[in-house]
């Protein structure tokens, strides 16, 4: 993991002090509400349906166990609303049918960050100090600025890796932090970076998507995609450069974002993302960026060219950790043990097959701790669970975890011979659902139970589908399926990119759900990134599980041997699935 320098550490502490100053001026009336709002947003503080929400930045998803323990402490000691606030929230949500609003919790997001739903604003500065004590912050996790940069959950360990994206992600994190020119862009700006062949970071869906690639001469560079995004107008990013030398990335991004800052629309919030500018201007935008880049290089002297020394310095933080020495055992012997353990216990066998991935180091594995299980919302973790995850990281993974885009935790440094012991511990902690990439490993936003923007609740839909699909044999048989649920068109639950997408909509003050099919995040399984297609008018919450079941039954009826859901859908087309989904409507009337 990146090791903070004194400069980095002091910077985060100063930022916390700055926030305290702003908070106090707001509290004393010296800063008006609308003047304070963008300042708190750029530190991660939203005001949600009932209480503030804090989004903590987890740069490219990497966390140490020490940081995880502080996140647990924040959940335990600060994630608690005032009694009146909580009473009001329970009463209001109760009318909708939500009777459980967990407190003392943290939530993992699709952008690898961590959120809290109940911390009172009066305690916010104390929480920022606590975060700073472990080199953490909420800088630019919200607001119309360059947001936290996301990456591949298997960065630095993936077997299909061309180059480790983390040093570049860190250098870009520093460059984007408190950038003076780009703090008030037309709209938020999200960058994702990957260094592997497989895209595990949904880069095509980002304002800027970066792929580390090698050119014919074997030199390292970036394929640069600009103008992807979800929301009302789902668009996949346009490739601006097939190959940009690695050391030029910040000079190039400066041009990309400067042109956007000057010409992006500010008159309509729904047309303010860079995707709209790229789509509207097309080649003219690209020409402007290239002309500006030329000026940055030739006139300004390419000031943000990454030096080899800086890349080396940052890369030194990302060498694999020193792992405890083991008595030498051959890979064959370890494999034989694992096979024997798997033969003994079918649950362990399933977990090995689903939650364990290969590693660059053949003695190691990457293990996903699943936060998709009954009775808890996708990506939710209690204070105790965060502490338990920290213990598992210390014991099995050199003290490191990764927050994944799919809202789970990944242990990146697990010895193959420890897998069985880890599984036993994970099972006891409730982290061992053998469902990674299966239907119940769904993405869901907090939705209308917490979020002020949501049109409908997401969590009860996730819960209903999770309850219906508890049979692991059935889940395995259905195979890998991306189910994504958003509570509104802002698309935090990435419904556009789900093989099956569910979108909450509001009709006459009631919750309805639009279902889309055939979306892709750009992974090998899902094919080129694309938005799913709507199957028809929206469904009631009660209908949704039946609709999903009808769609999945259609898959079972049409698939060829070994064919995945998404492949079957692409082969036969959306129509039979659409017909099945619409046939699941009006269940009550038909039955009557």
């Amino acid at each position: 993991m990146y090791q903070y320098t004194d400069f980095d550490r002091q910077f985060v502490h100063l930022r916390a002090a700055q926030f305290r100053d702003q908070l106090e001026r707001w509290q004393s009336g010296k800063l008006a509400e609308d003047e304070f709002r963008p300042l708190r947003l750029q530190n991660g503080w939203y005001v949600q349906r009932y209480a503030p929400m804090l989004r903590v930045a987890v740069p490219y998803g990497e966390l140490s166990s020490r940081q995880l323990r502080v996140l647990a402490k924040i959940a335990r000691e600060y994630d608690e609303p005032e009694a009146e606030v909580y009473k009001h929230a329970l009463a209001t949500q109760g009318k909708l049918g939500t009777h459980k609003l967990p407190t003392h919790y943290a939530h993992f997001t699709t952008r690898q960050n961590v959120q809290y739903n109940w911390i009172p604003l009066s305690k916010s500065a104390d929480v920022m100090d606590l975060l700073a004590s472990v080199d953490m912050h909420g800088i630019q996790t919200s607001g119309n600025c360059i947001r936290n940069i996301t990456s591949d959950e298997r960065a630095g360990i993936a077997v299909d890796e061309i180059a480790d994206p983390r040093p570049f992600a860190e250098i870009m994190r520093q460059w984007s932090t408190l950038h003076p020119e780009f703090a008030f862009l037309p709209r938020k700006f999200k960058i994702a970076i990957t260094g592997a062949k497989e895209d595990r970071a949904a880069t095509g869906w980002h304002d800027v998507g970066l792929h580390l690639v090698k050119n014919e001469a074997g030199e390292l560079g970036f394929r640069v995609q600009v103008g992807g995004g979800m929301g009302r107008t789902p668009i996949i990013g346009t490739v601006l450069r097939e190959f940009l030398p690695w050391n030029q990335i910040m000079n190039y991004l400066e041009a990309v974002i400067r042109v956007y800052n000057r010409y992006g629309r500010r008159d309509n919030i729904y047309k303010a993302r860079i995707k709209i500018l790229v789509k509207a201007e097309g080649q003219r935008y690209i020409d402007d960026v290239e002309a500006e880049y030329k000026q940055v290089i030739e006139h300004d002297g390419a000031p943000h060219t990454i030096t080899q020394a800086e890349l080396d310095r940052v890369s030194a933080s990302f060498v694999p950790p020193q792992l405890a020495t083991r008595v030498f055992r051959s890979a064959e012997a370890t494999d034989a043990d694992l096979r024997a353990q798997a033969a003994d216990d079918v649950m362990f066998a399933r977990w090995l097959a689903r939650n364990v991935a290969p590693h660059q180091n053949p003695a190691l594995r990457a293990v996903t701790l699943s936060f998709k299980r009954r009775l808890q919302a996708p990506g939710d973790a209690s204070a105790d669970q965060l502490d338990t995850a920290a213990q598992l990281a210390d014991r099995f993974s050199a003290g490191e975890v990764r927050v994944t885009h799919d809202q789970n935790l990944l242990l990146p440094w697990v010895h193959a011979e420890d897998l069985h012991a880890l599984w036993l511990n994970a099972r006891e902690a409730g982290f061992a659902s053998a469902n990674v990439h299966l239907l119940t490993d769904m993405i869901a936003c907090p939705g209308g139970d917490f979020c002020a923007l949501a049109n409908a609740r997401s969590i009860p839909i996730a819960e209903a589908i999770t309850e219906r699909y508890q049979d692991l044999d059935e889940l395995d048989d259905l195979g890998e399926i991306d189910l994504h649920i958003s509570g509104c068109i802002n698309s935090c639950g990435h419904h556009h990119s789900g093989h099956i997408g569910i979108l909450g909509v509001d009709k006459d003050g009631k919750e309805w759900y639009q279902v889309t099919l055939g979306g892709s995040d750009g992974s090998l399984l899902s094919g080129a990134a694309q938005a799913g297609k709507v199957v028809g008018p929206s469904f009631s919450a009660a209908e949704v599980p039946d609709v999903i079941e009808a769609v999945l039954n259609t898959y079972r009826d049409t698939r060829e041997a070994g064919e995945t859901f998404i492949d079957a859908l692409r082969r036969v087309g959306i129509e039979p699935f659409k017909a099945a989904a619409n046939g699941a409507r009006f269940k009550v009337e038909v039955a009557a």
């Binding site: 320098t5 910077f11 408190l178 003076p180 910040m250």
Partner: protein, 139 residues
């Protein structure tokens, strides 16, 4: 960082039609200005709302790209929490919005001694201006 930005009270900012003062709306392209910048002493850039950040790019282009040496002044919705970034992008004066209490302004400049990225004042980023060495990071 040292404050070089001159703070001007709203009542002291007068627009008397001085021909050496250029007022640039924030959707104007500074690179397309047709007057000779040598004859201009001051350019006023506008913040219609403080959340509209176009003037930061305008200031940067005027200072860095066009090498304008005169005064670049921030006008409009100017609050103290944006003063540091104004100075960093090339502004040399700022007219505080009416009613803004300037007493907390100085400590915004005092807080951060340095920043990560280069800007219109100091072109080099931190990693070039004050490079760290790989062996230095504390645990």
């Amino acid at each position: 960082m040292n404050r070089t930005l001159t703070l001007i009270a709203a009542e002291d900012h007068v627009d008397n039609g001085d021909p050496t003062v250029l007022q640039l709306p924030n959707d104007a392209d500074p690179l397309a200005i047709e007057v000779c910048l040598d004859d201009v002493e001051r350019i006023d850039l506008d913040f219609p709302k403080f959340t509209d950040g176009r003037a930061y790019s305008q200031a940067f282009l005027l200072r860095r790209r066009l090498g304008f040496k005169g005064d670049i002044r921030a006008t409009g919705d100017v609050l103290i929490d944006q003063l540091v970034q104004m100075q960093r992008t090339g502004f040399s004066s700022a007219v505080l919005k009416e009613g803004v209490d300037a007493s907390a302004a100085q400590r915004q400049f005092d807080r951060f001694a340095a920043f990560y990225q280069g800007d219109a004042v100091q072109a080099a980023p931190h990693f070039v201006a004050a490079p760290e060495t790989a062996s230095e990071p504390s645990a």
